[in-house]
Symmetry: C2
Subunit: 371 residues, 2 copies
């Protein structure tokens, strides 16, 4: 059945552009737009550093209409060449806007080179160096890359703007968002960026406990279990996890080589260095690492415990003072405690929050049923 549907879609595209507008559904949107402008940080996160890390440009603030358009675009299979995938095919809400597959599958069935990155908290990416290899310098620039990538969505920006202009509901959404109905790729990028910047899920047990106590980052928190607190102590203490996954964003500022391989196969930013992702919602975003090689958080912790490999590009923090790769040698209890702590960083509402959900889903399954 799926195969038939795919063939049918392919035929429609092959026949010509006039049919293209029929691919993809019509979104169901709330009468009163969801509140994206009001997305805020809990008071304890609203600090100097985090506030200043906000990469929202002055000329593209989040508006409810803009993020609504971004939401529709994000979930619309029209953004791919044959109408088979949307942004959300590889950045799935149920998975913290990451992909449960080690490598994603593009519109033509080809695999991407790396694991799709989680999108939450991109708004507070301090250096604006997006993608695993840090090649995009703004979220707006990032947003147009997968659309044009020959493996991922395979569209041209010209083709996309023509198609969206011909789609019944888009001109009105663009007019709501930007004042006039013109569809431009710049507006597509802006709307997608607004939507992505709105995904700031901080409804976690860790945040609740920090908020309740106003505590220093590394202090045991009354709201966590003893095991979770043991993990917290290890995270900020002997395990030194916070030297890379820093601040309450639990994110890094530089691409690093974390000792996955002694011989670099994928150079990433160079030398096998990859962006240090935020650990927020990491419980949802398996598998892990740029190539999705680790299935579980236990595997990840085990890597840092005993698996770091010596290589010429290994980050300084992972060298022991003997010049070899560091070995934390966490005990089984310690590994379990670290994993328990990491799970306190999951926003339990993220996966179902209607603001970030599929507006096409209410109506009918979208084509390309890999979602």
């Amino acid at each position: 059945m799926l195969r038939l549907a795919s063939l049918l879609l392919f035929s429609l595209v092959a026949v010509g552009g006039t049919f293209a507008a029929r691919i993809g559904g019509t979104p169901t949107l709330p009468e009163t737009p969801y509140d994206y402008e009001g997305v805020g940080l809990p008071a304890y996160l609203d600090t100097y550093v985090i506030r200043h890390a906000d990469n929202t440009p002055a000329d593209n603030p989040i508006t409810n209409a803009g993020a609504t358009l971004g939401r529709v675009l994000f979930y619309d299979v029209r953004l791919s060449q044959n109408g088979s995938v949307s942004c959300a095919s590889c950045h799935r809400q149920a998975n913290g806007f990451a992909d449960p597959r080690p490598r994603s599958v593009g519109f033509g069935g080809e695999h991407t080179d790396r694991n799709s990155m989680a999108l939450a908290f991109a708004r507070y990416d301090r250096n604006e160096e997006f993608f695993w290899d840090e090649r995009a310098r703004t979220l707006e620039a990032l947003a147009l890359e997968p659309i044009q990538n020959p493996v991922e969505m395979g569209m041209t920006l010209e083709g996309l703007t023509a198609l969206l202009s011909d789609t019944e509901f888009y001109p009105a959404l663009f007019a709501d968002a930007f004042g006039t109905p013109e569809v431009t790729s710049d507006r597509v990028a802006r709307a997608l960026s607004q939507f992505i910047r709105s995904i700031v899920p901080s409804n976690t047990r860790y945040d609740a406990a920090r908020q309740a106590e106003g505590a220093r980052i590394a202090r045991p928190l009354a709201g966590l279990t003893p095991q979770e607190n043991e993990g917290l102590q290890l995270f900020f203490g002997r395990g030194q996890c916070n030297l890379c996954h820093s601040s309450d964003l639990f994110a890094g500022t530089n691409a690093l080589n974390n000792g996955l391989d002694s011989t670099v196969t994928d150079p990433g930013r160079s030398g096998g260095r990859f962006k240090v992702v935020s650990l927020r919602n990491i419980g949802l975003t398996a598998p892990y690492m740029h190539d999705g090689r680790f299935q579980t958080l236990e595997d990840v912790v085990e890597h840092y415990s005993t698996g770091i490999r010596l290589g010429p590009h290994l980050d300084a923090r992972m060298f022991g003072l003997d010049g070899g790769a560091i070995r934390f040698n966490f005990s089984a209890d310690e590994r379990a405690a670290l994993v328990a702590f990491l799970h306190t960083l999951t926003d339990t509402t993220l996966a179902t929050d209607p603001r970030w959900s599929d507006p096409f889903a209410a109506q009918a399954p979208t084509p390309g049923a890999s979602r």
Copy 2:
């Protein structure tokens, strides 16, 4: 007198290219070329990581003839538009191939934006991201940038190759280095890179002490004074200096924001992040930081002790667990010990080693007497 000389030079250039060949002297070179191919690391530095960090490309190994040509080019004022400066004007042997001026002065009297970087040990730059903002991806690419920079040397590669081709001694040096006398910008880049890669000065008290003991990096060394050993312990211990200036290269792998300013003025790589330089020979290379703001090593240590400023791009390692900028609060004795230790990293022969010295100096002062 200097002013007159400058005017005279300017006139010569202004009259036309035929006079250009008269600017700059003739180098005095040893009958038997110096040994650059044999430049080696002491046994204890010849480790897996450092050996693999060698960025010498397979197609541009150091040869004695190639590095000799590179030496001549490095010191030749012909590489600048008006014959007033050479590479060595801003990368001075006596200063560890850095510039004692906070910002360097180019051929036309304009200041560069940043402090000239020390060149020693560039061969073992692991990620090959050169310049303070990491913009050059190979040493060969780096070498041609200052030549063409409109503030620094202001040449075109076409102009340079024509000029060198017309200079009596160059075709023979190019033939020695590359087999045929053709002067190309690619060969200029290769020769300069060979010369720079040859500058691997490891004749330091620290190296001698490590070599004698084969000790782990952080252990007190019998060859150092008690104060120097106290500094060593602080460097690898409470001061955590090695988390950024890592391994026996004492160098970093990523551009970092080290809290110089809470508001970024020069973004560097972005967010006020700058390349983490090797601390080898740091005693020679004052002033310090990308803008040369610190005159002494004491100033530098004081910065890390009490002066780190909170900013949104501050590196994770410089955040305290309270979310503010870390304060090491070294005592006066500790600051002195750290400085004493840093001085053990100076190669005492670097500043006078004839292999890396000015081949034009034996003859007559080169024009552009700021050297």
